[in-house]
């Protein structure tokens, strides 16, 4: 009951704090509304609303299902295999329940706050409870914008696709504090952090008015002014290097520091209980990631296939480089190393996959394998936190590497795609130096915002229901003590 009260209180605070923001933006928002209305009238008067291409719609529904598969069971099994057998169900349960919780919150207020016009940091309440997408009178579903003018997908497809992103991001965090956090604390933290870190970052990086608004220079300036803060700066994040991976990783790392090390960490053996599960999980992640990355193109076209190819090739490169580094430095190439390399490569190519060429993708993947290997060995020792399943070492380091290298390899000179100039309807290159600096700002913003919000959220949870289970319960395992069941009754 306390949790519900806390949730409602937070919602109330959120409403209160965004009210002034509405007031500030009232004038431009009204202006945009009128221009939108005018252009909508122009379009609607002679012709009916544009009908989304059935291929694009099927594509979006398919990729959404792929992202669900990479979360449950993919991520759950990847993580589950890495914990001790007494905590197997707890990690599966956390990933599964977070997926459900975030999906519900997404429908209630998440989508609206992330993907409607508000200010540069958070959206508004126009789509609360997904209001206004489905018109029961006409039976019509509203159109959502893509990255091409005149190409639309039904907005529900975008809502569902993005819901899976939010859900997997929050689920990623649990790897850092695995095997020791109260289940109630995991749930409350997830709701809080989703609301105050995921939604603003998603809005800052991804929200914009859509390509149709960019008719001339003035209209483009007006449209850009309504976009998210990092979008306005020109940060490139194709499928979520900052929004998903860096965001989740820093929240996890802060959690690992605040909650403390597992009982017996560094003294007792904490070997993964089933690397077969981890391999199945990593493979499901790889397959599902095609939905994640190619789907982020929002239509079934050339860009989607570029993202698809990069997701295939960069990941394979990362498997080989992690394996090679481990073989060279530790003596043996391990399956866990190969599986971790795949995830590292997937993470690093995520922000870049639709913005760089195959050569750039290969370099990003190859570097990710080596750098993330350092992330879970050298860096982990330096940090000294018990980030149980290496969320920061892989998702944080891979995400930062990918985000920065997106700036390096996006320009024409490096074989990249450049970016679209929607006013002149041409493709223009980006300059490496300035673009890397923009990317770095996006990385830093995410690290600071998510890190600070996570810190406050953990503290709130600690003061209300407590973060950590009792030591006895931790020794016995969370499966029996938190959930009253065992993974293996053999």
């Amino acid at each position: 009951m306390k949790k519900f009260i806390a949730l409602f209180a937070l919602l109330a605070v959120l409403c209160g704090s965004s009210a002034p923001a509405f007031a500030e933006d009232a004038a431009p928002a009204a202006a945009v509304a009128t221009t939108e209305a005018a252009s909508a009238a122009e379009v609607e008067a002679p012709v009916a609303a544009p009908v989304p291409n059935k291929g694009d719609t099927s594509f979006m529904l398919t990729v959404t299902v792929l992202v669900i598969m990479m979360s449950i069971p993919g991520l759950a099994l990847f993580y589950g295999g890495l914990v001790r057998s007494k905590n197997m169900l707890s990690i599966l349960m956390q990933v599964f329940s977070i997926f459900a919780l975030i999906t519900v919150l997404w429908a209630i207020y998440g989508y609206s706050l992330a993907f409607t016009t508000g200010n540069a940091f958070i959206g508004g309440f126009d789509r609360l409870f997904l209001n206004g997408i489905f018109d029961p009178v006409s039976g019509a579903v509203a159109n959502g914008a893509t990255f091409s003018k005149g190409v639309y997908i039904p907005e529900f497809a975008f809502v569902a696709f993005q819901a899976t992103f939010a859900a997997i991001t929050v689920a990623l965090v649990v790897g850092a504090f695995a095997e020791r956090m109260k289940f109630g604390a995991v749930m409350l933290f997830s709701a809080l952090w989703f609301t105050f870190a995921y939604l603003p970052i998603a809005h800052m990086v991804w929200f914009w008015a859509g390509p149709d608004a960019y008719t001339d220079a003035d209209a483009a300036a007006a449209a850009t002014a309504t976009a998210g803060w990092l979008f306005q700066k020109g940060a490139l994040d194709f499928a979520g290097g900052t929004v998903v991976h860096i965001n989740a990783a820093i929240a996890g790392l802060v959690g690992a520091f605040l909650i403390g090390k597992r009982v017996g960490y560094g003294k007792e053996a904490m070997a993964p209980h089933n690397l077969v599960m981890t391999m199945i999980g990593a493979s499901l992640l790889w397959v599902g990631w095609f939905g994640f990355n190619a789907g982020s193109a929002l239509e079934a076209g050339g860009t989607a296939t570029l993202a698809f190819a990069n997701t295939l090739i960069a990941t394979a490169a990362a498997v080989l480089t992690w394996m090679g580094a481990e073989w060279l430095l530790k003596g043996k190439p391990s399956l866990l190393g190969a599986a971790s390399g795949a995830v590292a490569g997937l993470v690093a190519i995520t922000p870049a996959c639709g913005w760089v060429g195959i050569g750039g993708g290969l370099v990003i993947g190859a570097l990710a394998g080596v750098v993330c290997f350092w992330g879970v060995t050298g860096l982990k020792k330096l940090l000294g936190a018990d980030d149980a399943l290496d969320v920061f070492g892989i998702h944080g380091i891979g995400g930062i590497l990918g985000a920065l290298l997106t700036g390096v390899f996006n320009g024409f000179a490096m074989g990249g795609t450049g970016i679209i100039d929607y006013v002149n309807n041409t493709i223009v290159t980006t300059e490496m130096g300035p673009q890397v600096w923009i990317q770095a700002q996006a990385v830093l913003t995410t690290l600071v915002w998510s890190g600070v919000v996570a810190f406050v959220c953990y503290k709130i949870v600690d003061l209300t229901i407590g973060l950590r289970v009792a030591e006895d319960a931790e020794r016995e395992g969370l499966d029996t003590t938190s959930h009253g069941e065992k993974a293996y009754n053999l």
Binding site: M270, P272, K330, S340, V376, G378, K381, D390
Partner: protein, 112 residues
């Protein structure tokens, strides 16, 4: 009567069982055990974390036999369990005071 306990390498179990059957041993009891001797354990490495595994899986085999079978039993186990490499195991011999067959109530060598 003697109780012979042997610690052997797991993959040698079938050969040892066959050798013992061949010389007329009527039954053995086998347990999967872990332990350490002069053979070193191994190191497992998961991402950076290193775990030294000291206890190696072995098979413990127990056979209750007549005293006059002892030499042939020891020879059979020695021959069939040997690889010549470290970790082949050991054989322990102890006197056995009494044996009772539960089904019939027979005692002593009759019950073996």
């Amino acid at each position: 009567m003697k109780m012979v306990t042997a610690i052997i390498k797991p993959f040698k179990l079938d050969e040892v069982r066959e050798a013992l059957s061949a010389i007329g041993v009527q039954g053995i009891t086998v347990t999967e055990v872990k332990g350490f001797g002069r053979q070193k354990g191994h190191t497992e490495l998961y991402r950076g974390a290193e775990y030294v595994v000291d206890f190696l899986p072995k098979i413990k085999l127990e056979a209750a036999i007549k005293a006059d079978q002892l030499d042939s039993v020891i020879e059979a186990i020695e021959k069939s369990a040997q690889t010549g490499k470290i970790g082949d195991g050991k054989i322990f011999v102890a006197d056995l005071e009494q044996v009772i067959r539960i089904r019939t109530g027979e005692t002593g060598p009759e019950a073996l």
